[in-house]
Symmetry: C2
Subunit: 388 residues, 2 copies
Amino acid sequence: MREVAVIGVGDTKFGELWEYSLRDIGMQAGLTAVGDANIAGEQLDALYIGNMAAGSLIDQEHLGAMVADYSGLAQLHLPAVRIEAAGASGGMALRQGYMAVASGMHDFVMVAGAEKMTDVGDDEIPRIQMAGGDQQWEGLTGATMASLHAMIARRHMHEFGTTREQIASVAVKNHRNGALNPMAQFQKAVDIDVVLNATKVADPLGVFDCAPVSDGAAAMILAPLEIAKKYSEDPVVIAASAAATDTLALHHRSSITRFDSVKVAASKAYRYAGLSPKEIKIAEINDSYTISEILNIEDLGFFDKGKGGAATMEGMTEINGVVSVNTSGGLKSRGDPMGATGIAQAVEIVRQLRGKGEKRQVSNAECGLTLNVGGTGATSVVHILRRV
Amino acid sequence: MREVAVIGVGDTKFGELWEYSLRDIGMQAGLTAVGDANIAGEQLDALYIGNMAAGSLIDQEHLGAMVADYSGLAQLHLPAVRIEAAGASGGMALRQGYMAVASGMHDFVMVAGAEKMTDVGDDEIPRIQMAGGDQQWEGLTGATMASLHAMIARRHMHEFGTTREQIASVAVKNHRNGALNPMAQFQKAVDIDVVLNATKVADPLGVFDCAPVSDGAAAMILAPLEIAKKYSEDPVVIAASAAATDTLALHHRSSITRFDSVKVAASKAYRYAGLSPKEIKIAEINDSYTISEILNIEDLGFFDKGKGGAATMEGMTEINGVVSVNTSGGLKSRGDPMGATGIAQAVEIVRQLRGKGEKRQVSNAECGLTLNVGGTGATSVVHILRRV
């Protein structure tokens, strides 16, 4: 297997992009990445497009061909395909692209993620999000993603003494980071009282505990490491790619305060990269709900089980803390266009490793981790990226 | 890259399977394939699930994790992902699984396809099918898949003198083949007058020129050729895997009587396999509309452009003709559960190459080809399989 490098990245601002269609934002992110990689579009060998729900959202499937077409590459007749694993679609697309280059099958591959969520009514979103859970056993009996995560939060509070304030501190940190990111949906810091007093969505979680509904796209160009330096002054190598699944429904698990798919994918990734969790200094991870980030920093091995809330409240996950978590603002503040998120996480890590993190730059970052989660942890994808 | 073999196959009957859910049929096909491969489910390293539109059809995305879960493999925490390229989703899933094994990343991989189409009203199907075309430029202006293929048929008749009877003869042949296939949706031969006099869908195409709405699933187990013989008495090697795209919308092409994605994917596949089109004696190809099969047997190089209708009418594509096309009954008679179709095509070729084609067995088949097409040819996937 060949080593694989990222030689270009691109993204759109995340938010309510009413003036753009899915094809517009997919094209915009893709062309930015191609330009950043200093290649011609014609050099691309294949496309992998992460998207969760364009069929339900805008009646459009077949996004592989669509992105190839609207990026002006139709005459190349490239292989192009959509990859879907609910909220982990972007991470899974990155993984398929990684495999295509590592195997020697392709040299230049674009991996991208895109989602256009604001073209449907807000009342349709919970049903479409639940398509990432177990619709037959959970959705049809009235569960929503927010209510399932509220149960996880309640149980975490019960088992470990996690407080409502600790959970809220995830949102405070991520909004503070997002305020430093010009591509974020919400560039506005909030204090903890705003989070605590916000309208309830599913007790104990309020509006500020939930990632927003977003439009957005992100893209990366991958190439074999051996030729990456011809194109990029600062290529970033993919040191590990790992994915794992779990039961689709939350109630089939022995515990709902840990996600085994995160633990399995992370443990593989650490082994592939030859790193321990404590060596990770920067991470973009799932915070679709504030409680998710607390679970994940525990399951990734950054903090002991049950200590994630306290660690966050004490500032250990702030920029230049013990581990800088979600410097981009995370899903909470940067936004969460579902299929785009996994790619956007990796784009942020690449920017940080290149020293292009601007006001949110972490000092001396040598390697970074992404964790992209689908549903209530039925799919987890972990990547570790490293400076060359 | 390692050589990759098919060591097990499984499928469900195609049809209106009201008594089964998507998870039931996915599981049924998967377990049959695992049994046929003489492996334990626990030996699987990864799953690739082809599905076009379960989000729109049954509000369920995230089918990778779902199939892993409901096949009893959740405790393995396997990587599992859904692959989508409209009607070519199954073929693309096979291709991703092939790459995973060829690259050395995984040893035992399940590739499967499944679709549950009969749980929604018939009036919703044309919109969902159009999600494989260009919804913005075609669907929203009133085009349906049937009307686009009717234009292709009219143009083929105009350019090449193809007759209505020649087009109808595709349906007659495929129904005759399907009558010999116990897994087919329609096991009933029809004569040409039935096809010609059927209710019109989009002139000149009638009901018998269009593949049906179907439920169904199919699965295969892939493994490196070097260990395949330990598990299977008659492994089949994947001699070539190729995919290509084209513009999503039909009107952006210079010609609508050939599909360039088919020509590009086929030409790559022939090169990889070291074969010419005339050496292919058996093929499962796209006949979602009767005219599609005529285009495809031309674009695959079996017959000269414009001669596909006459060749079919003269019996050259019948079982043991010049090339045996759609011995399974094709999408027309076997059925077309969209994401399952690409895998089901390969399952039929494997059965034929193993000599298990029963009443429809082709004599002396050494290698076979599959062509899985999405939308109006915006994605084409070609595989060539060969006896070891």
